[in-house]
Amino acid sequence: MQSTEKNVTQSITQVIAASSLGTLIEWYDFYIFGSLAVIIGQQLFPSDAGASALINTLAIFAAGFIVRPFGALVFGRLGDLIGRKYTFLLTLVLMGGSTFLIGLIPSYSSIGYAAPILVLILRLVQGLALGGEYGGAATYVAEHAPVGKRGFFTSWIQTTATLGLFLSLGVIVLTKNMLGAEAFADWGWRIPFLVSILLVGVSIYIRMKMHESPVFTKLKAEGKVSTNPLKESFQKRANFKMVLLALFGATMGQGVVWYTGQFYAQSFLENTCKLDFNESRYVLLWAILFATPFFVIFGSWSDKVGRKWIMLTGMLLGVLCYRPIYQYFIDATNVKEFQKTELKSASEPVVERTLIKDTKDSLITTTTFKTLNSGMTFKEATIVVIPDDVLAPLPEPQTVIKDVTLTRSTYIIIIALVFFQVLLVTMVYGPIAAFLVELFPTKIRYTSMSLPYHIGNGVFGGLVPFIATLVASFSGSTPLSGLWYPIGIAALSFVIGAVYIDNKREEHVAD
C-alpha cells in the first residue's frame, strides 16, 4: 500500500528523466558500433579484405538488429511477469557489459578470426538487451502519463534513440580530434566503447531508485498479471492481429525512415560521396541538433490530432523525397567531374610503398591534395599493385577520391537536407510509443508492443545500411539503387497504415 502511494507521488519528470537517461545510454552503446563500422572492419578482418570488410562489419552490426525481436520476446515476457523496473535494469547491465567488452577485443592481427566471432557474440547480447529495453521504458513512462498527454510524455523517450546516436557521434569525433587520426584508427576507437561502463553505472544507480509502474503494481495487487504473456500475445487471434497491424502498418515504415534519415545518410555521405570523416559526422550532428525538439512537438501534437496521419505523412514524404535528396548529395560532391574545369591547385604527389601482407607484392599509393576554385578540397590517391615477379603484367592503377571537404553553401544545403530527413524521423517516431502502448492491454503490453517495434526497427530498419550497400554493389546498379529498399518498405507500410489503422486515441491504458 505504502509502495503504491510512493508510486503516485513520484513525479512524472523524474520518471521521464530516469527512464530516458538509461534508454539514451543503451542507444549510445548500440550505435557506436555502426558509427565506427569502417574502422572496426579494418581491425576485425584481414587488411586486404576491402569492401568485404565493410559489408561483413555491417553484417555484424545488422546481427545485433536481427536478434532484437528475440530480446523483445525474452524480456517482454519477463517485464509482464515480474514488472517493468527490474527487467529494464537487467537489460541495462547486459548492454553496458557487452559494450565495454567490445572495447577490449584484440584485433584480427592478434587473434585472427576469433576477433570477429567474439565481437559478433557480444553484438548479439547487445541486440537482446536493446530488444528488452525500449518497450520497458516506453511502457513505464506511458503508464505514468496522464490522459491526453501520453504522446507528449512518451515523446521524451523517443528522443533518446536519436540523442544516443548524437552522443555516440560526438564522443567519436571528440576522441578522434584529441588523439589524431592515426592513434584513433589504431587503438583510440576503443575509448567510446570503454566509456560506456561509466555511463551505465550512473544510469543503474538512478534506476535503482525508481518505483514500479503504478498500473502494473495495481494489476499485480489484484492478481491479474498474465501467467503466460507470450501465449496471450501471439496465440490469441484478437491480440495477434493487432501485433501484425502494428508491424506492417506502422513500425515497418517507421523503421526504414529512421535508419535511412540518420544512419544511411551519414554512411552514404562518407562512403559514396567520400566526404571527410569528421565532415560527414558534423552534418548529422547539426541535423540531429536542430531536429530533435520536433520529436516532442509531433508527440504532443499527436495527443490533439491523433497518431496515424502524422506518422504516415512522414513515411510518404520519405518515399517521395529520398531519391532527389541523395541525387543532390552525389551531384554536389562529384569532385572527379569538377576538377576537369575547376582545378585551382594540386600539391606535390606523396608516394608511399607498402608490402602486401603474406605476399611479396608491393602497393604503391600516390596521393595528391587538390583544391578547386570553389574552395572544395579532396585527396586523390592512385593505387597500383607491383607484383614481385618482374615478368608478371602490371595491373591497371585505381584512382580513389577521399576526404572531400565542402564549400560553406553546399555544406549548409546538405545539413538542411539531412535535417529534413531527420524531421521525417521525428514525424514517424515521435508519436509511435503512445500509438503502440494504446494498442495493447496492460498485462501483455510489454511483450505485445516490443515485438512489432523491434521487428520494424531492428529488422526492417537495422538492415537498411546493409541491404542498401549490398544492392548498390550489384553489377549494373547505381549509387541510388540501394534506396529502393527503404522506399519500397515505407510505401507498403503507408498503404497498409492508411487503409487499416484507426486515427482514434485510446484514453485509458490502465485496463
Binding site: 568485404s52 536481427i66 492481429k241 485496463d511
Partner: protein, 83 residues
C-alpha cells in the same frame, strides 16, 4: 473501405510468397556471380541470413492478408476487453 481492406488482403497474401521467391532468385543469381569471382561481396551466408529473416516476416504478411480478407480489421477493438 471494408471492401478495399478485403481486396488488399488478397494482395498481401500473394505478396508474401512473391517476395520470398524474388529473394531466392536474387540470391541464386548473385551467389553464382560471386563464385565466378565477379562480385565477392555477395556471399551465400549473407543471402541466407536475409532469406531466413524474411521468411517468417512474409509468413506474417500472409496471415495479415488472410485476416484482412476475412474481415478481421473491419472493426478494430475499442477497448482491451475485446482483445
Amino acid at each position: 473501405m471494408n471492401d478495399l481492406k478485403k481486396f488488399l488482403g488478397i494482395i498481401w497474401m500473394l505478396l508474401g510468397p512473391v517476395i520470398i521467391i524474388f529473394l531466392i532468385m536474387q540470391a541464386s543469381e548473385k551467389i553464382a556471380l560471386a563464385t565466378e569471382g565477379i562480385a565477392r561481396t555477395n556471399t551465400t551466408l549473407q543471402w541466407s541470413i536475409i532469406i531466413l529473416v524474411f521468411i517468417p516476416i512474409c509468413a506474417g504478411l500472409v496471415i495479415f492478408g488472410f485476416y484482412g480478407w476475412k474481415g478481421e480489421y473491419d472493426k478494430l477493438p475499442s477497448s482491451s476487453s475485446e482483445l
